[in-house]
Subunit: 191 residues, 4 copies
């Protein structure tokens, strides 16, 4: 399951580069229209990097893979697979309102898919779930959808605030999920 | 063999996203022509997900990889590799009759390739084959080609029935092959 | 090394599908110009499948990976990576002489790269090399370059003979390298 | 971490092939405009090959993966992911000054990202770091950025010198990092 997910995320990250179309002119100004495309690419690269990173930690808490988990995982990958499309639409249109809102909607759906995957794993592990203890209150997981919703709502009137919120959520998650890391290492020590 | 197949299926899934071409306009109506493309993408995503999922279970029953299996596996991957093409043709032409029939033909060939792979594995395992017991009557495997054939036959006169049949087969398979899972776990317990 | 090579070959196989461009029309005749493209795709798919298959067997004979092997392997992957380009050029131009000759040249270079990789591995293993015994006279490896050379030479005057020779070499190799398989199993039994 | 990086590098290598666009004509002259594209492809193929090769050796010295390493690794992959773009821009414009300089800038950033990754690993391993002993003075790592800087500076007036320098750095690195290999084997022997 990890190899397949790693593969899909690796391909999605590199597919986005294809939107950086080689310009015909060869002076520096030829790169100017590519700046918003590049900035969006960086943002989406970080988002996919975060998902890859946390996915890596998440799967380490799994003891037994069930069919339900495989499908919850595919569901997550489906929403992630739409990120190159929304990245391209938003980047090539200088952050127009509708593409900017759609970018947030796909991120929101991916966040929900992540939440479902997490709770499917917890459900399998029973009440002493390692993962449940690891995520605890999960303030990051609760905060992100709220910020996405605000970003989607204001995309029409204040798209720069939307972009700022997308960047903020990325920043919040940039720090890898040390909670899971810590609990996992604590378990190792007890064994 | 699993890593390679996982890789190919992961790439096929993500290659289909490239057919979701970024529209030039930036209003919501710009997304309307993409709706059939997106729906077909979802359907093909689920089909490839099913193959990946069941492939995963199937390979767990293999004890020894033979050259014949490698080629039966490549044969399956060949038909799966045509899915992005038929997906694009059907989705971009609002489910026109010929593309809709071709979509079914490729699915049918993939189902036959799957059947061949399954029987190659069973042949290697002898009469006490774990896999043979696991699949049992294999009503799903027998039903799917029949439904595909009906869908192909009626594509010209009633393409919505064809699409409904494709969706129905996907639904039937969505439930992961618990038969193999159960037998595998039973074996584990006996050991 | 195997994971990386598997990845590259998997991507090459699926990149070729992108040359099957979705036609605008939706009737059966729209598929006619795609027939040579599809045939070339099938041929190249089989070639890459053969390399993947034999590569799989080859790497099983390696006991220690050296820097030289890594580079000999990359050299092989370089020539294989040109196959989608020559496949597209030949297929989209109805087997015109120059593209047909170039197709053979790339196959020839890949065969030479394979030979180099094989001999690098044998050189590391010393005179009791498992691989040397396994390949023995290597008539397939010796015959293929000769057939490629003939195919390249006659491409201008008799391109159908060239194509026939490419298909013949593929056929000769289609049978997986049982020699290596046999020797490997013999070794296992002795241990 | 290795599987994901291998995946990304494998995809980047093969994505570059997509810039070798199939020409419409079928005579030998149709290939002439592709020569600079092919040469740039070869250069970038070697660069990505070097990174893959040394990355392979680098990861073997890691005992424990930290979140910081994952991000330093993603940072490296980000700069590597821009290589297909700069390769295409430089190759399709016959080594025009600005694209040639940009090619060097991305290589320079990748070299810096490599340096950061290396020092993150060393920092985790403490003062008896296996990797620190292995890289020693690291003259290659120190020389490359200097040569890149010269190449970027002279790209406007003497682009062929820039290209020569890029080729020279590739040549210097072509020899796999035997230092790490040697130290690793020394350690094995002591155990």
């Amino acid at each position: 399951m990890e190899a397949f997910s790693d593969g899909v995320i690796a391909i999605l990250i590199t597919i986005m580069v294809l939107d950086l179309k080689v310009p015909l002119a060869t002076d520096l100004r030829a790169l100017v229209p590519l700046v918003p495309v590049l900035l969006t690419y960086v943002l989406s690269f970080i988002y996919l990097g975060i998902y890859w990173n946390n996915h890596h930690h998440l799967l380490q808490t799994i003891e037994r893979v069930t069919g339900g988990m495989l499908w919850a995982n595919l569901h997550l990958l489906f929403w992630l697979s739409l990120i190159p499309f929304t990245t391209g639409w938003m980047g090539e249109n200088h952050f127009a309102p509708v593409p900017t809102a759609l970018y947030g909607i796909v991120l929101l759906m991916a966040a929900i898919a992540w939440w479902i995957l997490q709770h499917r794993i917890i459900a399998t592990q029973g009440k002493h779930s390692l993962l449940r203890r690891a995520i605890g209150g999960d303030w990051k997981g609760n905060l992100s959808p709220v910020l996405y919703l605000i970003a989607i709502a204001v995309a029409n009137s204040a798209r720069w605030i939307s972009l700022g919120l997308y960047a903020l959520v990325a920043l919040v998650w940039l720090i890898p999920d040390r909670r899971i890391e810590r609990i996992l290492m604590g378990t190792d020590r007890q064994e």
